[in-house]
């Protein structure tokens, strides 16, 4: 057993927790719980950022930790919860692929992601293979979640979780993105949620449901 320094161990643990939460989301049907898991993922992300900031002494990482905390743990979950209440969607219907199948696919994805992480790790000097691998896994798993769900709400959460993965990847590969980019992304995410919220109301108004298979009737040729 190699002995890593404590902060590296903590960082690895945070990374593993991120992955764990991604899988928990994959296995969860209740949308309310999904939002809570998302908030938790945000919290772990903030903790990891803080850890990294303390370790590297880079000031802007403190800022981005604070931003993460405010946006992903507090604001977005609050918005989403409100949306759920207003739209009255607490449960997703049966997913397209059952949970066991999805998780098995998730396992394969993780292996694939780690294979992918190998060359990236060689490029970036700061990143460990595990961190990059987990970041890629989180992105792909969120993608998987978006594919298998039917309700638009779950897909938005999947989208947000994907952004978490990108953020973690950037952070571990190059100690965070430039502040401008980060702020831009944060703003983007916020706006996206707001726009999508409006969009949901429109969908429900039109189809009286948030189930996305209704959108299939929009295609021209039948």
């Amino acid at each position: 057993m190699t002995h890593l320094p404590l902060d590296q161990q903590l960082l690895d643990t945070c990374a593993a927790l991120l992955l764990l939460l991604s899988f928990a989301m994959l296995s969860q049907r209740r949308i309310v719980t999904l939002v809570n898991l998302y908030a938790l993922q945000g919290a772990v992300l903030a903790a990891a950022t803080l850890l990294l900031a303390w370790r590297t002494g880079e000031d802007h990482l403190y800022l981005s930790a604070a931003l993460t905390l405010a946006l992903k743990v507090a604001l977005l979950p609050w918005l989403l919860h409100r949306l759920i209440r207003r739209l009255d969607v607490y449960w997703d219907t049966e997913p397209l692929l059952n949970v066991t199948g999805t998780m098995l696919a998730g396992l394969v994805i993780v292996v694939f992601a780690f294979a992918l992480a190998q060359p990236i790790t060689r490029l970036a000097s700061t990143a460990t293979r595990s961190a990059v691998g987990i970041a890629v896994s989180v992105v792909l798993l969120a993608f998987l979640m978006m594919i298998t769900r039917r309700k638009a709400m779950s897909q938005v959460i999947g989208f947000l979780s994907m952004e978490n993965g990108v953020f973690f990847g950037a952070m571990s590969a190059s100690y965070g993105m430039p502040m401008v980019v980060e702020l831009g992304v944060a703003l983007d995410v916020l706006v996206a949620v707001l726009v999508l919220g409006v969009f949901f109301f429109q969908i429900r108004e039109r189809f009286e449901s948030l189930d996305l298979h209704h959108l299939e009737s929009l295609k021209e040729h039948d």
Binding site: M1, L10, T13, L19, F23, T100, F114, S130
Partner: protein, 316 residues
């Protein structure tokens, strides 16, 4: 040395025997408090056992000797398991002849005897219970074994005490895979001990019951032994959890009976916390449909497998 060692071994099993009903009583008490009910006494399970032991035994006419043997085998397996799990001390003699894989095998043997006994009388509910019990078992058992094997990979030994000692001595540091294992383990614990999202120990509703359905034909001392075995199983599972995730307070190295008792307060403290946590989980969750259970357990199994994956990935 040997006599003392075996005495210590016996003591550990006896403590488990004595404490197991109290753990269940404590969980029930916490649940009642959390649900704004008046709580039964902590000693209620002891009273139930006593009552059952004093009752006449009714056995179905067509029950075979297997039916009468099963409670003793189940109970014996659980007592033995309690001796193997390092709940208070790690260097006990029995441990050398049964590692964690054998422990899971013991649990499987108990389950199999219980299922066979349930099928023995040939009632509709009995076979239903046996089928469901085996359904829970065939997924929960590998999940438990995977959890243990992940820990074995970390400490290069499948003996539970070795795992515990490695964790206590802190050679391993934080192991991220433990997070996955812990989630998997909690899910398995709930399922295996007929706790709420999977089974409801308080009802005999045919649509949902699993564990109780296998015991329907038992009465008197046989039922008492089965109930006691179930309580011991809960105790054992919680102690496995301690051994894998919260090993602090366990007496490491060679100890006598006295050393064992020194470790008892730590165990009591951990059991109190775990019981309260269990009650909280049960209160917060709702019973799920029977055919959702495989999904629940498959999730547990896959979490355990993920733990393995993360261990290999992050360890390499």
């Amino acid at each position: 040395m040997n006599a003392v060692a075996w005495l210590t071994q016996g003591l550990e099993a006896v403590v488990a025997l004595a404490a197991a009903p109290a753990l269940l009583g404590w969980v029930n008490q916490c649940r009642a408090w959390l649900q704004n009910r008046r709580a039964p006494s902590l000693w209620q399970p002891y009273g139930t056992l006593r009552k059952l032991l004093h009752k006449e035994v009714l056995i179905a006419e067509n029950a075979s000797p297997l039916f009468r043997l099963a409670p003793y085998v189940t109970f014996g397996a659980m007592v033995l398991a309690a001796g193997i799990i390092p709940s208070m001390g790690t260097r006990l003699p029995l441990v050398a002849s049964a590692d964690a894989i054998a422990l899971v095998g013991l649990f499987a043997a108990a389950r199999m005897f219980m299922a066979l006994a349930a099928m023995d009388v040939g009632t509709a509910f009995g076979t239903l219970g046996a089928r469901r019990e085996m359904m829970v078992g065939f997924l929960a058992e590998p999940a438990l074994l995977m959890v243990i094997l992940v820990a074995s990979l970390t400490s290069s030994s499948t003996a539970l005490p070795a795992i515990t000692e490695a964790l206590v001595s802190g050679h391993l540091g934080l192991s991220p895979s433990l997070a996955f294992s812990a989630v998997a383990f909690i899910l398995v614990l709930l399922a295996e001990n007929a706790r709420i999202p999977v089974d409801n120990p308080a009802t005999h509703l045919e649509l949902t019951m699993i564990h109780e359905a296998t015991l329907l034909e038992y009465s008197g001392r046989h039922l008492a032994l089965m109930e006691w075995a179930a309580q011991l199983k809960l105790f054992n599972y919680v102690c496995i959890g301690f051994a894998l995730f919260l090993p602090w307070g366990v007496a490491v190295g060679r100890i006598g009976p006295v050393g064992l008792l020194v470790a008892a307060p730590a165990l009591a403290l951990k059991l109190t916390a775990a019981g309260a946590g269990l009650a909280l989980i049960e209160t917060l969750s709702a019973k799920m449909r029977v055919m959702r259970i495989p999904e629940f357990l498959a999730t547990a199994f896959l979490f355990a497998v993920l733990g393995l994956l993360v261990h290999v990935l992050l360890g390499a």
